[in-house]
């Protein structure tokens, strides 16, 4: 077991950057997959599609197959994504209204949704919309997106900024959805959620299972061998 004065989650040599977490999540998206990426950090996943594969991105405000932001000054502010950022279209795009858009979500037509998280519980519960009762609550499409996609994944730091586990036995923050998450890509590991348990699939080679368990708020189960989490410099 590696012992170090500095907690592992603060050591940049044993931690993926956000770009690297996004890269790892992108590797699991099949060619032709229909994908919704949550606002913010999850949007980075679109940059790292493997060569030869093309995912089709859905934004809940009514576009399929949108692309990068246009050059500054060339924005059409009717052509935005769910984060209200200007986007462009790829060939084969389509527009539709909000009810049709959420029919795609709720009806199980998306292959993958990738969201951020405050907490993920071992039974698949997700908390990602508010941390307490103060301030102005805002939910957007988060509670819809956690239902319907064939795979609903989270990308996240493994622990909070002050070192608290984000993968927990039970969420303490208000829930976004119950039993909805199937896979979590963190700064340190790739973990599936199966039968109300965290099942470890990949971890950084530089850390031990015990070190990872110590950073995790619920028991990590094994189901066969654990692969090394290997990500390029980005």
């Amino acid at each position: 077991m590696t012992v170090d004065a500095q907690p592992i989650n603060t050591r940049d040599d044993i931690k993926l950057s956000n770009a690297q977490i996004a890269w790892r999540a992108a590797q699991d998206i099949a060619d032709g997959a229909y994908v919704n990426l949550g606002i913010g950090f999850p949007e980075m996943v679109a940059r790292y599609q493997p060569p030869g594969r093309q995912a089709i991105f859905h934004t809940e405000n009514g576009i399929l197959n949108f692309g990068e932001a246009p050059p500054p000054g060339e924005e059409d502010w009717d052509l935005i994504n769910a984060g209200k950022k200007a986007v462009t279209l790829k060939p084969g795009a389509a527009f539709f209204h909000h009810a049709d858009s959420f029919a795609m979500v709720r009806g199980g037509h998306l292959d993958v949704a990738i969201l951020g998280a405050y907490q993920v519980a071992q039974n698949g519960d997700l908390a990602n919309w508010r941390v307490g009762a103060k301030g102005v609550p805002a939910v957007g499409g988060a509670m819809d997106l956690v239902h319907g996609a064939k795979q609903v994944c989270v990308i996240t730091e493994h622990v909070t900024k002050d070192g608290k586990p984000k993968l927990v036995e039970a969420c303490t923050f208000p829930l976004t959805g119950v039993g909805c998450i199937t896979r979590v890509y963190t700064s340190h590991a790739v973990i599936d959620i199966q039968d109300d348990r965290f099942v470890l699939r990949e971890k950084l080679a530089a850390m031990s299972l015990e070190e990872l368990q110590a950073m995790t708020g619920a028991r990590l189960h094994l189901d066969g061998s654990v692969a090394d989490l290997v990500v390029p410099q980005l």
Binding site: G32, G92, F96, A99, A103, R106, G107, H109, H147
Partner: protein, 235 residues
């Protein structure tokens, strides 16, 4: 990614005995005759078929019924100018019928596609078609609870497709087709022409490609009404 399928036979190759199949069209308008006939050639049995009608003459769904492929029809109007195929089997007790009001049929299919397991409608309240269904009162009026409809496969007819499966339709041939695209595990569209991605204006797409799994080009599709007037039988 290219959703093009080379032939009608290949398009229906995944349809198996016992499946529930949505078939687009309202009468002959928007009816995927070539895909239906390819399915007859394949020769599956014990199908549950969802369509507004129950076939006409000796072609299309009527020919499926004649071929003994259909165990049950879910439809609103099993009558036509020549309804023998369904009528004879129904009166002989050889085919089941679930009769659904047309608007309820459309909404149940949309609900299946939209992940809505049940909804309330005023339609059929107080009639025999609401027998056995939950009733609820909202704002002083009574409504019938209806459940979603889904299918294993939908076969539909559209006008244009691009290679991503985005579809447009021809006039009132639209009808149930866009809804059925949403509500099946696998959706196959026959279209008059397949264009490259970008060949359909994103503003004019009626069915976004996410709802479509395969498209097959049938350049000059047959119209049920013309076949019936010509006395054609498919067997």
């Amino acid at each position: 990614m290219d959703k093009t399928i080379g032939s009608a036979a290949e398009a229906v190759s995944g349809i198996e005995n016992g499946m529930t199949i949505m078939i687009g069209g309202f009468g002959g308008s928007g009816a995927p005759i070539e895909l239906i006939h390819a399915l007859i050639d394949k020769g599956v049995k014990n199908l549950t078929v969802i369509n507004n009608n129950a076939g006409n003459g000796r072609i299309g769904i009527a020919a499926m019924i004649d071929a003994g492929m259909v165990k049950k029809m879910i439809c609103s109007f099993p009558r036509s100018s020549d309804p023998r195929a369904f009528t004879d089997r129904y009166l002989a007790g050889e085919i089941e019928l679930e009769l659904v009001p047309q608007g309820t049929l459309a909404e149940r299919i949309r609900a299946g596609g939209a992940g809505i397991p049940a909804f309330y409608t005023p339609t059929a309240y107080g009639t025999e078609l609401a027998n056995g269904k939950p009733i609820a009162e909202f704002d002083g009026r009574h409504y019938v609870q209806e459940r979603w409809l889904k299918a294993d496969v939908a076969i539909v007819k559209a006008h244009l497709a691009d290679t991503y499966g985005n579809l447009t339709y021809n006039k009132a041939g639209r009808n149930f087709n866009p809804l059925m695209c949403m509500a099946a595990t696998r959706t196959i569209a026959q279209v008059s022409k397949i264009v490259s991605a970008g060949g359909i204006d994103p503003e004019h797409v009626v069915t976004p490609g996410i709802f479509v799994d395969g498209v097959v080009e049938i350049p000059n599709p047959q119209q049920e009404e013309e076949l019936i007037r010509a006395g054609v039988a498919y067997a």
